[in-house]
């Protein structure tokens, strides 16, 4: 029976590159997939492209390609990635440049475009809403499905770079292509989507975002290996990782990841299928080898999800620490002083919290502590103009000289914020296309 080896080379834009190199070098992969596009990543890329601060593709594209292209080429491993972000065409040109620099020949590199639907989104939103948020709408990207990648796969592309494509679809496309699955064989697409969903966050399947000493121990987390799946023609898969790499791929880590970012597990919506994970079963064949089966599917949703990004001014934050006797009292005084000095910020747009006390779960849900040895005051505010953001940072820094005793270690930062929402569009106006560059 034919089988396919697909590796996960990244689970987010900034992910570690070493585990991807290990996969590319030692795992005899048919496909290496890099998932690098969180909800907001593409909007930030659009903004930075528009302001000509960057070409709009993944900032680590060069580093990743330089590392894995020379390893993938001799093994015949094809690379699939959404590192094209806001500019797949430029990403393809850059990849071709890198391939030439590396002395690689005969490489076919494809850009899949069509996810950018800003024009259509503007028309729809103005039709549906009376208020005008359009001034601030900076991006609208439809989630393309596996179907959008099929032309590039059929044409023999060695590297396929996309913008917004649903994460599991990046993995499902090679399965559809290699096994000749029908685009309405919902059970197979459901099972393939489950495989893609398990792989899309890379190290989160193999012990990342998992370890809890004494409860869930993970060996050699510092050398965490990324997962790969050996997928059968019937969609069943053996999930594993490189022998000798760190981490642990267990039934428990698989159960956590199959439900990650899922709402109704019987109706996990992608552009390809409505996947049903409720029948999924995991069996441990050997250490770090888990067999997965039992996912199903029903018809794909009629509409496509579109991520819309709105410009919302600046977010600024500042922090200062207090330690030793009376640390918490001094930090509380600093908070009161700061609240008064920042009273020009709307209450709902300002947050003051204490790191080490209540900054993660909020005041209402944090168990009160008597007197921490040290505590860090944190101020954060949103919807600011650039001068207001600078003002907030200076007010925190001024606590050195104009605040309580013994405050130290100020840090401040500010950034332009793009807030994401979602709308749904009919499939019709969303058309993907494929462009090639041959080295």
């Amino acid at each position: 029976m034919k089988s396919l080896r697909i590796g996960a080379g990244a689970g987010f834009a900034g992910d570690r590159i070493e585990p991807a190199i290990d996969l590319a070098r030692d795992c005899k992969l048919d496909y290496l997939v890099f998932e690098c596009l969180a909800e907001r990543t593409i909007a930030l890329a659009q903004l930075s492209k528009r302001q000509r601060r960057s070409p709009g593709f993944d900032p680590l594209l060069r580093e990743r390609m330089e590392a894995v292209l020379p390893l993938c080429r001799p093994n015949g491993t094809r690379i699939v990635s959404n590192m094209g972000a806001a500019n797949p065409l430029a990403a393809v040109k850059e990849t071709a440049r890198i391939a030439r620099e590396l002395g690689l020949h005969g490489l076919r590199i494809a850009a899949v475009t069509g996810d950018d639907v800003l024009g259509e989104a503007r028309r729809r939103i103005s039709r549906e809403k009376n208020e005008d948020p359009l001034e601030h709408l900076v991006s609208a990207n439809a989630y393309l499905g596996a179907e959008a990648l099929l032309e590039a796969l059929r044409s023999g592309a060695d590297v396929i770079l996309t913008g917004r494509v649903a994460d599991p679809s990046l993995f499902l496309a090679p399965m559809i292509f290699e096994f000749g699955w029908a685009l309405d064989d919902w059970n197979l697409l459901g099972q393939g989507t489950a495989v893609g969903h398990l792989l899309e966050c890379a190290g989160q399947l193999t012990g990342g975002y998992f370890a809890d000493p004494g409860h869930k121990d993970v060996p050699d987390l510092d050398r965490l290996g990324f997962p790969l799946a050996e997928v059968q023609e019937n969609g069943e898969a053996l999930l594993t990782k490189l022998e000798g790499s760190g981490g642990a791929l267990t039934i428990r880590s698989c159960k956590e990841q199959i439900l990650y970012e899922v709402q109704d597990p019987a109706r996990y919506l992608t552009p390809d299928v409505t996947a049903d994970f409720t029948g999924v079963r995991f069996h441990e064949i050997a250490p770090n080898q888990i067999r997965m089966s039992g996912a199903r599917g029903t018809a794909r949703p009629m509409e496509l999800k579109v991520s819309t990004g709105y410009y919302e001014g600046f977010i600024a934050e500042g922090q200062i620490s207090y330690a030793g006797p009376g640390a918490f009292s001094r930090a509380r005084l600093a908070r009161d002083v700061l609240a008064s000095r920042l009273s020009w910020i709307r209450t709902e747009d300002l947050q003051l919290s204490f790191i080490g006390v209540n900054s993660m779960h909020g005041e209402a849900l944090s168990t009160p502590v008597p007197e921490p040895y040290e505590v860090r005051l944190r101020a954060a505010a949103r919807r600011l103009t650039e001068p207001q953001a600078r003002k907030l940072m200076l007010e925190v820094e001024s606590l050195y000289v104009n605040g309580p005793a013994g405050g130290g270690g100020v840090s401040t930062s500010m950034r332009e914020n793009i807030a994401m929402d979602a709308i749904f569009l009919p499939r019709d106006p969303v058309r993907s296309s494929t462009t090639y560059e041959v080295v």
């Binding site: 409860h215 709402q263 109704d264 300002l350 900054s359 909020g362 209402a364 994401m420």
Partner: protein, 108 residues
Amino acid sequence: MKLREIAHARAGDKGNIVNISLIAYDEADYPLLAAQVTAERVSELFAPLIARPVERYAIPGLGALNFVLHRPPTESVTRSLNLDAHGKGLSYILLNMEVDVDRNGSAG
């Protein structure tokens, strides 16, 4: 007993939605989770953070429950001022919940 002694959990985010999976270490403890970790109790637990009641989905085949929390629109990943804007650490609020192991059979 704390839930953390018999179950593990992972939080995920999409916009202003956070899901928290709750998975029995031993599948024999799943009925206890299903009986005691109700949508009502979890809604009450997370009340300060959520805009409407928590939805609960059961996946008995995995010995797991999935809770879906709807935060207010201003508390989405891309708008929240919280240090943990994603809500990645929220699973540990759930794991701190008390369950009565004598009521639905023994745990462990």
